[in-house]
Structures are given as C-alpha cells and as structure tokens.
Amino acid sequence: MKRLIPLFALCIALPAAAQTPQLILDSLVAKAGPASVARGEQLYRAKSKAGKTADSCVACHTDNPKAVGQHVKTFKGIDPLAPVAQKDRFTDPAKVEKWFKRNCQEVLDRPCTPQEKADFTAYMISVK
C-alpha cells in the first residue's frame, strides 16, 4: 500500500499540471493586479526600438492572433497565439513563462512585468 501512495499522488498531480487559460490568467493577476484587455492589445501591437530581431509581437505572430505566424529570421511557422484558434495555448504555465522570458527579452530587451503578462494573457483570452 505504501508503495502505491506515490502512484496515487501522481494521478492527482498529472491533471493538475495541465491548466486552462483562465487559471493561468488568475495566477498572473494574483501577482499583478486586475488585468486590462486594452493594455494587453496595446502591448501586442506596440513597436519597440529595443528589438534586435523582431520589433514587436506582431512581427512574428502577425496582426491577427488567430493566424499562423512566422519567425522573422528562421521563417519557421508559428501556431496561432489565441487559445480560440490553438487550444493548447496558455495551458502550460512553464511554457507561458518560458516564452514571456524569451520574447520580452527579444523585443523589449527586458523582462515583462507581472502586470504586462497578465494584460497580455487577458487580451489573448479575449480574442474570439
């Protein structure tokens, strides 16, 4: 029986690891404050002078978060960002943090603030 305990724990932990976009937004809001869809969209479309390869999110992800994007340098296709168009988006907190880290650094040359992450996520969820 004792040996089965980790197995039970795993059964509970595995479903817990996969989250919904709303749960991910909630945990970002808990660190920041109320999220603003409008500010999120502004961030998505803003041009940055700090960008080395890409000067904005839209440079790779296109004007339309429901569209397939393309990396400006490698030309690799990128799945849509909006969960409405790509259902595994914003369901893995580690993946969300990884790409905020990579892409904020790339476009803004600094990490994004918790508020920016919350706003951005709220905007992506709002896209219908």
Binding site: K52, Q70, H71, K73, T74, F75, K76, W99, Q105, E106
Partner: protein, 174 residues
C-alpha cells in the same frame, strides 16, 4: 486469346505481380534514404524546435554542437539560454547522435568527413554536404515566402523534425 498461348489468366497474373511489386517498392524504406537518429522524448523538439527546425544532430560533428551549446546566450544574436537540466540533456543527445558519433550511419560519416578537423561549423547550410545536396535549388525557390532561408528545413522536408530528409518526402511550398 491468340496463337501464342497467352491467356487472360497470364495477363491477369502479370498485372497483379507488377502491381504488388510496385506497392512493395513504394513502401519499402530505401537504403539510401536520408534518415537521421533524433533525440528521444520531446525536450529537443520543444526547446530547439521552438524557433527553428529541430535539426538532426547528425548534420554536424560533436565539436560544432559543443561550441553552439557553450554560446547559447548569444545564439545567432539571440539569447537562447536553457535551464541546466535541459541544457545537459540536449548536449548529451547532440554529442551521442552527432555526425562523428560512434553510431553514425554512412551518410553522417560522409558529412563528418567533408568537414575539416580544425573547423566547428555553426551553420548547417555552410557545410559542403548541404551545398552539394541542394546545388540544384535555384535562389528564387529559397526566397519563397514560406521558405525564406535554406535553414528552414521543415518548410520542404516536412518530416525534418523526425530526422527524415528523404527526397520522396520533400514538398516544396509554392
């Protein structure tokens, strides 16, 4: 059927035999097919393949990959640093499956043999093997919007992320 003693039965078995042979030939993996071993699991495709094709490790020698992994903080101008566990796992896979690895197949050995021992190329597209294999591709094809650069393997080699670069699996986008 005629004066040679050929019957419909003969013809039918001929058609069947040719058809069966064609099916076998079509499905059999050709010995010269360009297939490279890939790291097991999803880490390599998720981490490296997030921004570009998950290039087969067998396209470069181990010394190239060691240099690349040591310089990830400035990876072709971008900070592609990885967390320690992923970094170590990926480096190990790259070394094991590199063009000059112990289990390298004939194709990988050819790739490795064409690279000078004192060079550690960082761009696959600059290796002699890549240039030789793609010398018939005109510039305007590379410039198509869905391809963009010769480094975008997966644009035409649709199963490149599985290590499959065989000619029969090439689909050049318009």
């Amino acid at each position: 059927m005629n004066g040679y003693g050929i019957t419909w039965k003969h013809l039918a078995s001929l058609v069947l035999a040719v058809g069966a042979a064609a099916l076998v030939i079509e499905r059999a993996p050709a010995g010269d097919e360009a297939v490279f071993p890939m790291p097991a699991g999803k880490t390599y495709v998720n981490e490296c393949g997030g921004c570009h094709t998950a290039f087969a490790p067998g396209l470069l020698p181990a010394r190239s990959w060691r240099k690349m992994m040591a310089e990830l903080a400035n990876h072709f101008g971008e900070d592609a640093s990885l967390d320690e566990p992923q970094h170590l796992a990926i480096l190990k896979d790259l070394e094991t499956l590199a063009a000059d690895g112990a289990q390298a197949n004939m194709r990988m050995r050819r790739i490795s043999a064409a690279i000078p021992a004192n060079a550690a190329p960082q761009r696959i597209i600059e290796t002699a093997y890549f240039k030789f294999m793609h010398d018939e591709v005109p510039r305007h094809i590379w410039q198509r919007k869905k391809i963009g650069t010769p480094g975008n393997c997966v644009a035409c080699h649709i199963r490149a992320n599985e290590g499959r670069y065989g000619e029969r699996e090439v689909r050049i986008p318009q």
